[in-house]
């Protein structure tokens, strides 16, 4: 905007200068047809030359230059101000746009992160529920197996209790049991089972 203003002002100044030169040249080129007219013209020219002499022209040039420089300076100042304003506005606009875009992007990211987080939380909760269920199932199964194994071992221990005690007795006093001391017990047992032994010997033979 400011550049166009500057170009327009410079164009106006250039047009004014050109018009001034054109009028001056036109007036200088007009030839009186008649003598009076010529005289008048000469007088006018002399007056013009007298009025618009070189000093006056130089003065006008200086004034025009100064005015031109003043206008240039003002316009440059305006242009600078406009530029600063434009730059400031542009910065603000860019800031706003960037902030807006960033906010949108962040909002999208936050939404995506929130969705992902929600999905992750749901997945973790499902996994946790599954793990808890499996843990409970495994715990129950383990407890059942431990209980069964315990009962089985106790049963085996009870069943083999006689062997355990026998092994202990054998290890403790096995070498000290004399067969002669057992003769009475053995004979009494044989006597108690005499009938069965006799029947089997007779029938087996």
């Amino acid at each position: 905007m400011t550049i166009w203003w500057l170009i327009l002002i410079l164009s106006c100044i250039a047009a004014g200068g050109a018009a001034f030169i054109y009028v001056a040249v036109r007036l200088s080129r007009a030839a009186p047809q008649k003598k009076t007219l010529d005289d008048l013209q000469d007088n006018a020219e002399r007056d013009v030359e007298h009025i618009f002499n070189d000093e006056f022209r130089e003065e006008l040039r200086n004034r025009g230059r100064l005015h031109f420089e003043k206008i240039l300076g003002e316009n440059a100042m305006f242009l600078q101000q406009d530029l600063r304003l434009t730059t400031s506005q542009l910065n603000d606009y860019m800031k706003d746009q960037i902030s807006k875009d960033l906010k949108e992007a962040f909002a999208n990211y936050e939404s995506a992160i929130s969705d992902a987080k929600q999905l992750a939380v749901e997945s973790i909760e499902k996994t946790k529920a599954t793990i808890d269920e499996q843990r409970q199932m495994l715990t129950a199964q383990l407890e059942q197996e431990v209980s069964e194994e315990k009962a089985r071992r106790i049963q085996r221990f009870d069943e083999n209790m006689a062997d355990v005690v026998n092994h202990y007795v054998l290890a403790a006093i096995g070498n000290q049991i004399d067969l002669n001391d057992q003769l009475e017990y053995i004979l009494s047992e044989l006597e108690a089972n005499k009938k069965a032994i006799l029947e089997d010997v007779v029938n087996g033979a």
Binding site: I154, N166, L179, I186, E189, L190, N193, L198, D200, G204
Partner: protein, 182 residues
């Protein structure tokens, strides 16, 4: 010596020193050796005979208890027949102890079997250190466990009750006592 009356050998006495088939086989081999020696002596020249082999304590007991003269061929033959008959027909009873029994102990056991079960019963000895005490008697079809191990097994309930009284909770899955396995 009424040899005619004991042709079948049914009334001959089998000494308790002769426990089982091992001793019977040993006696049979000894009798065969004695028979061979006497045959060889008969064909040798007089005065060149080899010294008479020393008979074992078992053979002497067998001959002495039945009043047999081992130098008489018929009596040797009768004795060999008797041993063969015993080897084939006499009932064999296996009995196992925790330790190797003495001869006197075995003589008492064999005497009981021959008195109460069969006059020619043969006892085959076994060794089972795991029974701790007592014995296991096995006939042709049955087995009689008179061991301390089986005695413990029979009275297992008493042991479990004692353990249950000593512990705060009774043992689960207690098995009821079963009868003696035969």
């Amino acid at each position: 010596m009424a040899h005619e009356a004991r042709k079948d050998g049914s009334h001959l006495e089998l000494p308790v020193l002769i426990f089982g088939p091992v001793e019977i086989h040993r006696l049979q081999r000894e009798l065969e050796a004695l028979e061979e020696y006497l045959e060889q002596t008969a064909i040798r020249e007089p005065g060149k005979q080899a010294p008479l082999p020393r008979t074992s304590r078992l053979l002497e007991a067998l001959a002495g208890n039945n009043r047999f003269n081992l130098l008489v061929a018929d009596e040797r033959q009768e004795l060999a027949t008797f041993l063969k008959q015993i080897d084939h027909q006499a009932p064999v009873i296996h009995i196992s102890f925790a330790a190797d029994p003495s001869s006197a102990f075995m003589a008492k056991i064999v005497a009981w079997f021959r008195t109460n079960i069969h006059p020619y019963a043969l006892v085959q000895l076994g060794l089972q250190p795991t029974i701790a005490a007592g014995c296991i008697v096995r006939t042709s079809n049955k087995s009689f466990d008179f061991s301390l191990r089986h005695h413990f097994y029979d009275h297992r309930q008493l042991l479990l009750e004692a353990l249950g009284g000593a512990s705060p909770q009774p043992a689960q899955g207690a098995v009821t006592v079963t009868g003696r396995q035969t």
